[in-house]
Amino acid sequence: MLMQLTLGGLSQGMIYALIALSLTVVYRSTTVVNFGHGDFVMAGAFLSYVLVVLAGVAFLPAAALAMIAMFVLGVMFNRGLIRPIRGGPHIGLALMCIAAGYLLRGIARMVWGREVLPMPPVFDMDPIFVGDLVITGDAVFIIGTVLVLLLLFFGLMALTDLGKMVQAVYQSPRGARLIGLNVDRFNDFSWGVGAALGALGGILVAPVSLLHPDLGASFLIKGFAAMTLGGFGSLGGAVLGGVLLGIAEQYAGAYLDTALIEITAYVVIVAVLFIRPQGLFGRKAVVKV
């Protein structure tokens, strides 16, 4: 049972990891916490739904198209709405993100009302049995896709010049300007990547759950919990935090109470902020007095 729960948690945690990572990509580049990110996740899921169910596109090209569309939306959102108010108070940036998120949610509600929509299963393969462990096609697909993507992402960041430049922008925007990087363009790129990665979270979750315009809200909290657990601003921490949160939800639901699944994220946020505010990989904030 423990293995089954761990596998289920890992599969769910990979989605959280993706969402936390996408939030962190935006946060590291622009120090903006995208409070509308859950709705970007929802928009990705609905875009793939429209393409697959209504336009009859196969799942993989539909997923790619949805991610490209969300990348463009992320870039446009930063260029059109965030960049012009960057010099203003942080609360303005937060409100702009919330407003954009609610706008996306409102559009989805206008089209589908509060309907709950089923997406056809994507990996309709027979489950694999390893002893008592049942490995479903969905779990293989989600874990496999996210693992490949994480390897590509972290490989790109660590081994390529582009990745080093992105890290440079993250670590010192002024330093990046001093070496001739167009930081605004990198920030656009980060918002695009953040939106596309978040959308992929929605796209992966679509075939294994029911779609509704409000689904982003809970994913936003899961993303925040994963970020908190891993340490704000840590890319690796966001991934580990997401995986641990997914597994913790499964264990709490099975061994304590199923109602705990829904509140595990909140408990994690409170506990981490109280016990180790910097999370697992975050740096302790040092304030000169």
Binding site: D161, A168, G175, R177, L178, V183
Partner: protein, 239 residues
């Protein structure tokens, strides 16, 4: 002897932060191959002058001509591409990246074709950086970090190097090392504009000086011609 055509011409430059004016019509030139130092009390506009040249602040009026091209109002990455690199007061390094990554990044947008050659040259100039090339820069001492900052700027093979307080926060021993570094840069013909509070270093390294007061140039001249009369300059700065 003909005066060489200035590489950088600042004319009637006005810069302010909000409604507070900092530079009020400053004008000066930097000629190729020289090291010009900007002197002045705190708030006189020295660093603002640097930031305006690099595009970090937008002048409200006046002109910054670099090799005949107007750069006032251009973004920093466009100005860098023309060949102006700055070693800032805060150094602005990438703390989690290695020394070598920091240096290599300096050549990503300019000087990339000669990257390997320039990197070897930087390691010749700063052997200590070669020893520490795999270390994260946040683990280095202040002096070593300053070497990385200077090396990173040199990686782009700048036509004009701006040094903002290169000895800031460093021990007297390291100040001496910074002076030696500036000497070798001058021998290599690197044109430099420097802001420096340490007057001994400023007078030792610079060919010419100008004094800024309340955002205007109030004095200037050849450092050698003022040898032995540095007190007069100091009086002009602070009194």
């Amino acid at each position: 002897m003909d005066t060489p055509e200035p590489l950088l011409k600042i004319r009637d430059l006005h810069v302010g932060y909000g409604k507070k004016p900092i530079l009020r019509g400053a004008s000066y030139d930097v000629v190729p191959g020289e090291c010009l130092t900007l002197l002045g009390a705190n708030g006189s506009g020295k660093s603002t002058s640097m930031n305006a040249i690099c595009g970090f602040v937008r002048p409200s009026a006046g002109s910054v001509l670099f090799d005949g091209q107007e750069t006032a109002g251009l973004p920093p990455h466009r100005i860098f591409a023309l060949g102006i690199a700055q070693v800032s007061q805060a150094r602005d390094l990438f703390p989690d990246l290695t020394v070598e990554d920091n240096l290599r990044l300096g050549a990503m947008r300019r000087g990339g074709k000669e990257l390997a050659q320039t990197l070897a040259h930087i390691y010749d100039r700063f052997p200590r950086l070669k020893e520490r090339r795999k270390q994260a820069t946040r683990t280095l001492s202040g002096g070593e970090q300053q070497m990385v900052a200077i090396g990173r700027a040199l990686m782009s093979r700048p036509r004009l190097l701006l040094l903002d307080e290169p000895s800031g926060g460093l021990s007297p021993q390291f100040c001496e090392e910074i002076a030696r570094i500036i000497d070798t840069l001058k021998e290599d013909g690197v044109t430099m504009l420097m802001v420096e509070q340490n007057l001994n270093l400023a007078f030792r390294a610079a060919d010419r000086f100008i004094v800024l007061r309340d955002g205007e140039v109030v004095d200037g001249g050849d450092v050698r011609a003022m040898a032995g009369d540095h007190d007069a300059i100091v009086r002009n700065i602070y009194l």
